[in-house]
Amino acid sequence: MSYIEIRNIFKIFGPDPKSALELAKGGADKDEILAKTGHTVGLHDVSLTIEQGETFVVMGLSGSGKSTLIRHLNRLIDPTAGSISFGGEDILAMDIPALNAFRRKRLGMVFQRFGLLPHRNVMDNVAYGLEIQGTARKKREVAASKWIARVGLAGYETKFPDQLSGGMQQRVGLTRALATDPEVLLMDEAFSALDPLIRSDMQDELMKLQAELHKTIVFITHDLDEALKIGDRIAILKDGKLVQVGRPEEIVLKPADDYVQAFTRDVNRSKVLRAKSIMAPISETEDEATTDLPAVSANARLADILPIALANGTAMTVLDSKDTPIGTLSPQQIVEALDG
């Protein structure tokens, strides 16, 4: 069983969602339901599983329902139909106190426009989650200081949010979410409001933290490059429906439909594709033939392999993590993969 299980979620906005639910279940699409009943379909029969410790990215354009979806995970929004469970526990069955306890202990959320408390300084913002839990001031400031130092905010403890740049503010937002040491981080377009360079920095920072912390991260974005960069798996939403779920390479190499294909057209494939996904596997019998060739790691991205390929002009041996040859990669294969 997966850690987070979302089963057949429907979310319909409007005065009488139940009436439109039957239409939606009958297969009517978003426009049809809006025309017939005046109700907006936010999510249409979405089922997902998210494993513990993975970075799961939900990608979609505005109006695709991605922000609605992430708000179902901490019940800022309740579904019209369907079920959601964390570690086997049905979160929709929780009453208010149980839900608040669940949010306090197990979830942290980061927001697009940061959602910082403007009347509190950095220290008190970071310690907010602990304060809500009822942790004593001394203790929560010790814990908050540790996280503040870790993300490079030391020295800014007494600054107020409006005295910080956007990038710094989102560092505070991220630190605030981490300070309660939650199992799950929900990130709603967390880096979308930042400048490209800062955004890239924050993505690297998040990946670095994740390599140490192994949180379960659910990350929402409208930017496919961002999704491909940080996601272990990616779900693509369109008009409230799930179009495709897969690893970044699957999304790029095997787009489920024209919609996904249109997205992936402009992607820099060399940064997504890895040696192992385009190599020709070695059959068990012919083993010694490839030893003279330059070696590359199976997890290396094409961007890193290209210089080696250009310098040698020959095929390469692909090694797995134990340095066992598992395949070969020719310049021709690389060209074909990059060409799509």
Binding site: R104, G115, R120, K159, F160
Partner: protein, 287 residues
């Protein structure tokens, strides 16, 4: 001519209702009036009993606490001093006592009502027309029932003042809470904050500049009403204005008018200084 058969004897009904109130609940109103009067009299005795320079020092201290601006402190002390020079110190202290009680009562009632209005759209829909009525109804009109319920004197003056002055603080508390950034609220909810933690930790602190503006308006309106309330026996500066009108003594009326304006300026500046301060956390200055 509008047909007379269609006339509704609303006036008569209201009279009957007020009579009924007086007959059945007169004792309760009296008890309430007595407790209010006790507070007011005590405050009045303190203000009038204290030497004038103690009051000046107190006002200077409050102004300094609110603004940290010595120019404003000097300005407001001079304004109060001028009231004394007009020979209206004692009357100003009476007005001040009435105003403090009326404003405190307005704020005490107004903020919880404003909070409730922000929480419930239905209550807000009911309250808004009531608040409009409270503010647009000529103030003399509700002096009359207040008079019938509580007799002549200070208590009906305070109640009429509260009715007139409470709406702004209710409106601005409601508005301030509704203007809080929804993403900040969402963030607070996502951390599992209870409704109480959200109200006291997020909504009220962020609504504070608006609430302070409401309190300031309420203070200004209670000054103007306290003056009108002298018609039903409230003492103070209004009494002096009334006397000026009755005796056609332009000079006396003018003096009292100037004193009222000075008092209003003092309270407006102090209120605004607190309002400005509330827009930023106090420790922001040294950050």
């Amino acid at each position: 001519m509008f047909p007379e058969q269609l006339n509704v004897p609303l006036g008569k009904w209201v009279n009957q209702f007020v009579d009924w109130l007086v007959v059945n609940y007169g004792a309760a109103f009296e008890a309430f009036a007595d407790s209010l009067l006790t507070v007011l009299v005590a405050l009045e005795q303190v203000l009038r009993g204290a030497p004038w320079w103690v009051v000046l020092i107190a006002i200077a201290a409050i102004t300094w606490h609110a603004s940290k601006n010595w120019k404003l402190v000097v300005g407001l002390v001079v304004a109060m001093f001028a009231i004394g020079m007009l020979g209206l110190w004692d009357k100003a202290m009476q007005t001040l006592a009435l105003m403090i009680v009326a404003t405190s009562l307005s704020v005490l009632i107004g903020i919880p009502v404003g909070i409730a209005m922000a929480m419930s759209n239905r209550l807000r829909a009911v309250m808004l027309p009531i608040l409009d009525t409270m503010q647009t109804m000529p103030s003399f009109v509700y002096l009359i029932p207040a008079l019938m319920l509580f007799g002549l004197g200070k208590v009906p003056a305070i109640l009429a003042t509260v009715i007139y002055a409470a709406p702004p603080v209710m409106r601005l508390t409601d508005l301030g809470i509704r203007l809080v950034d929804p993403e900040v609220l969402e963030a607070s909810r996502s951390f599992g904050a209870s409704r109480k933690q959200i109200l006291f930790g997020v909504q009220l602190p962020l609504a504070l500049p608006n609430i302070m503006a409401g309190i300031n308006q309420t203070t200004m309106m209670s000054i103007s009403m306290v003056v009108i309330a002298s018609m039903i026996g409230a003492r103070g500066l209004g009494e002096q204005v009334l006397m000026g009108i009755q005796r056609l003594d332009v000079g006396a009326g003018m003096e009292a008018g100037i004193a009222i304006v000075l008092l209003a300026v003092v309270f407006d500046r102090i209120g605004q200084a607190y309002g400005k301060r509330s827009q930023r956390s106090p420790n922001a200055e040294d950050a």
